[in-house]
Every structure is written in C-alpha cells, then in structure tokens.
C-alpha cells in the first residue's frame, strides 16, 4: 500500500487524496493516515516542484562538483557531508563510490557566484583535497520528467 501511494505521489505530489483512495481501492482516511505517518517517519521528506528555469527570466546556474576529501579521525564522511550541505547554494550532496567522494550540486545566479563559492567556501575546508566543477549546460530530463515535452495522443479516436 505504502509503495503504491509513494509511486503515485512521486509522479504527482499534488494528486488529490480522494483520487488516490479510489485508484487504490481503499478509504480516504487510510490514505491520509499513511501519508501522515510517512511524513512523520521521514519517508516522505518534502514535496518539490519540477521547474524548467530556463523558460523563466531568472538567471540560474547549476554546477555539479566532484569533491575529494580526507576523512579525519572522529570526523567521518557523514560529518563532512553535514558541513557541505549547510550552505544554502548547495541543493544536493551524495557520497559516491569510485574516483571521488562527494557529488555536490550547487545552484546560484551566475557562474562567477558558483566559482566564488568553490574558491571561498568549498576548497578552503581542511578536509577537502580537490574539487572538479562541471557546469550544467542544459537539462533534458529531471526527476523522471522530460522537460518541455508534452506527450500528444496520436491514436485514432475510435478503434475496435
């Protein structure tokens, strides 16, 4: 039940709870209770909107930064991550396997601002060994949604 509710919410966080209940064949109260419980248990951590910022007048620059660190005694990856994600411009932090340790995604108004963030905030951290910054040129698909595409129904209106 939870899994089904979640996959509906994941696709459309604004879906009507009444509709969810009908679609899953359970009562509205049951759905509302499950959602409340999952919010409490931090299974549902938030409700975001997928925005294609390139279509607005707002300037926005997104960078994906590969960060290598040296975990120090008493200061494991989690502690370092905590230092990284506190910054407002950081939108995502992932611990990675492979050639570097963290992927840090940063959003800011200009490239200069992102460069400044890397130079002034990120690199000077004593645990950070190196950074490698990649700027996003264009987003095609985000959170499972192809940006800017509307699926047109081209089926013949009436078929047997």
């Amino acid at each position: 039940m939870r899994e089904k509710i979640l996959s509906l919410l994941e696709k459309n966080s604004r879906i009507d709870i009444k509709d969810v209940a009908v679609m899953l064949g359970v009562s509205e109260v049951e759905v509302a209770n499950e959602i409340a419980a999952m919010e409490k248990e931090n299974i549902i951590c938030g409700y975001n909107t997928i925005i294609d910022w390139s279509k607005t007048g707002d300037e926005k620059v997104i960078a994906l930064i590969e960060v290598k660190v040296t975990p120090q005694r008493g200061l494991g990856f989690d502690k370092i991550a905590e230092r990284l994600y506190q910054y407002d411009e950081v939108t995502s932090v992932y611990l990675m396997s492979g050639g570097f340790d963290f992927t840090v995604i940063v959003e800011d108004k200009t490239m200069k601002a992102v460069a400044q963030f890397v130079a002034d905030k990120l690199s000077p951290l004593e645990t950070v060994l190196s950074t490698s910054t990649h700027f996003v040129l264009k987003k095609y698909k985000d959170y499972g949604t192809v940006l800017g595409s509307t699926h047109k129904d081209e089926r013949i209106l009436i078929t047997p």
Partner: protein
C-alpha cells in the same frame, strides 16, 4: 460490365465501429474514450531492439512460422505464465497480430455449413471471418447478470449437430469480463462431449486485475482441441508492430502455417526481433502498466457510479461496459447524442453485436486526467437529459 465484386464479401455488414468513426472524425474538438489500444508507448528497451535490428540490416524474411528464437521464447513464456506447453517448431506460428491468427484458424478448420458459436458482445472480426470461411455464425447472447461470462447452459442450448467451433475470448473486449479456471472447467465436458474445437482469443491475457488469467487450453483434455491466439499488442503496448501468434495441435498448425505462408509469407522481421526482448525482459514494464490500468479501472467505475451509471465490475482488458438502459435511449442514440452535445466519443454496444444494445463501451486506456475530462462531459450530458 460484369459485377466485379464477391457477393460473399459485399454481403458482410461493415463494422459498426467504422460507421461511428466516420461521425467522430467529422466532429472538430471531439475527445474520445473509444480507443481499443494502450496509451502507453512500447517499453523503450523493446523499441530499441527494433531499432538495433534495423541498424544491423536484419531486413530479410524470417522462417514462415516466425524467427526460431522468438518461437522458443513464446514457448517458454506461455509455459511460465499460463502453464501451457507448445513445441516451438511444430505448434507455434507467429502471425501479423492476433487478428490474422483468428482468420487463419477459422479458415483452416471450417467446411461450408459448419457452425461457429460466437458469444456476443465480442470483438468485431469473429463473425465476418467466420462468414468468409463459409461457416454459419451462431450467436450466443451473453447476459449482464452473468457478468457476460459464458455459462454451460447457454453453450449447451446453442449446439447443433453442425456445430464445430466455439470462439472464446476472455478477458473480453468489449465487456472487460474474465472467466476463471472454475468457470471454464464447467464448459469443458460439453465441449468434449460434442467434439467441439475452441479458438481462444487471449490477447488481453496479461491485463487481469483480480485472478491471474487461465487459458482454457491448460485444462485437461482441451489442449488437443484448442487454438490459442495471443500476441504483443495489448500486454506490451505493441499494437502498431502487428505481431501475434497462434498455438495449437500440430495437424491444425501445419495447415495454418501453409495458409500463412501463401497469404503473408512471414510476420515483420523487425517486430519479431523486438518481441524477443519483450518476452525476455519486460515483466516489470507489464506489471507497471497493469497497476496503472487497475487504478484507472477503479477510478472510472467509482466516478461513473457517483454520476449514476452503474456497472458490473470487470476484471480484465481495459474496458467497462455499463448499461445505459435507464436513460431511455438506444446505444447508438446515446453515443451519438453524447458526441453531438458534449463532443465525447464512447462506442455503442451494438458495434459488438446486437445484444450489446443498451450498453456502451468505455475504454480506460487513458490517463486519469483524460478520464476526468471525459467523465465531466458524461456528467453534463446526463444532467441535461
């Protein structure tokens, strides 16, 4: 000048759907809950396999019966899904959609004057195909109070000494009805007693929402007298690829293959390569589609009930078949007025046989958002009459 046309073909009634289609396509801005095909795209891995086959230059004919690799996968698939056992090299023929299989099976088994039992409402091609094969179609009027399942009494009452074939099609288009193993078992003694053969159109076999599908060919004594028709169109959202298959006893399949070879040569090669991938690696995709259909099914039934249209709960395919008798209109009148007044197309039940009178077919191969728009129009229509 002589009459160039075949009397037999000219005398066949054109499909009621065709008639209605002409009206719908003349109506600007009309939306439809009338399609008989999935709204999902074919899973990407399958499409990609088709593209890859083209890139590789796999553009030749395959064996008449279909790619060996595909027939082997079909054999494995039917076994793991429905417990059926068919030999890939003697008992399976890959066809151009399920429709070809229906046509071929009838033509290979009918002698002039044989009677074919056709429970209605049903898919539009059974009766015309039977007539083209020189059979006499005998209709069984299925009843809403039986949830449009075929009962043993109805079957027994329709059998004469000329009856040869029973067309069986569950999950059903247009009613959405299914028949469980127990319900099918009731029919078996009668079928065997009268030495009937069954053409079982199971094209919607993966789209069931309560019980798993049971193929009548899996029941004791039935494999040797059943042709199973199935395909990729509905389960894998592959309608445009035109790919299906027929399975049955060797002696019948031999003749089906012969006819197929003369009429068609082989099913599209590209589609066959893609279909191998569908059978091997798409269980998850199918599960997701089935879950989505099921959610829409519940949604549609519930919302219709709210606006005063009751319907028995169908457990298969992607159609509901509600009664509109209480509105005092014929099916055609209801569908036509709904189209004229609210620009919404649903299909009059009579398109699927005379006993579909009093019903309409509504498809839920649409997103919830589109269903809402359609439901809204039905509601307005009903309030206005």
């Amino acid at each position: 000048m002589r009459n160039v046309l075949s009397k037999k073909i000219v005398d066949i009634e054109p499909s009621g759907i065709r008639k209605f289609f002409d009206v719908v396509s003349e109506m600007p801005g009309a939306i439809s809950l009338g399609v008989g095909e999935p709204d999902f795209d074919t899973p990407y891995v399958v499409r990609e396999e088709g593209i890859y086959a083209l890139e590789q230059g796999k553009t030749y004919y395959t064996a008449n019966a279909g790619l060996k690799e595909l027939r082997e996968e079909i054999s494995i698939y039917l076994n793991r899904k429905y417990g059926l056992y068919y030999e890939s090299d003697k008992e399976i023929v890959v066809t151009v959609g399920g429709s070809e299989g229906i046509d071929l099976a009838l033509r290979c088994m009918i002698n002039p004057g044989d009677e074919v039992l056709i429970p209605q409402p049903c898919f539009v091609s059974y009766a015309p195909c039977a007539i083209m094969a020189d059979a006499t179609p005998v209709y069984i009027n299925l009843k809403e109070e039986n949830e449009f399942k075929l009962t043993k009494e109805e079957l027994a009452a329709s059998i004469t000494d000329k009856t040869k074939i029973l067309m069986l099609a569950y999950p059903s288009n247009p009613t959405g009805a299914i028949m469980t193993k127990e319900e099918l078992e009731e029919l078996v003694p009668i079928i065997i007693e009268h030495d009937l053969y069954v053409i079982s159109d199971e094209i919607y076999s993966e789209l069931t929402y309560d019980n798993k599908h049971c193929s009548i060919a899996s029941l004791l004594g039935m494999k040797e007298r059943t042709i199973v028709i199935n395909g990729f169109s509905k389960s894998f959202a592959m309608t445009g690829w035109r790919l299906g298959y027929a399975c049955g006893p060797k002696n019948i399949m031999e003749q089906i293959l012969k006819l197929h070879q003369f009429a068609i040569m082989c099913a599209p090669t590209n589609s066959q390569f893609a279909a191998v991938e569908a059978l091997r690696n798409c269980d998850d995709d199918v599960d997701k589609m089935v879950e989505a259909y099921n959610q829409r099914r519940r949604f549609l039934i519930h919302q219709l009930k709210e606006i005063g249209i009751e319907c028995f709960e169908p457990y298969g395919a992607f159609y509901i078949f509600p009664s509109i008798k209480k509105f005092g209109m014929s099916s055609e009148e209801f569908a036509n007025r709904l189209l004229q007044e609210q620009k919404l197309a649903v299909i009059p039940g009579t398109a699927f046989g005379a006993c579909g009178e009093g019903f309409v077919r509504i498809s839920y191969a649409y997103s919830i958002e589109n269903l809402k728009v359609g439901l809204d129009r039905i509601k307005k229509f009903i309030e206005s009459i």
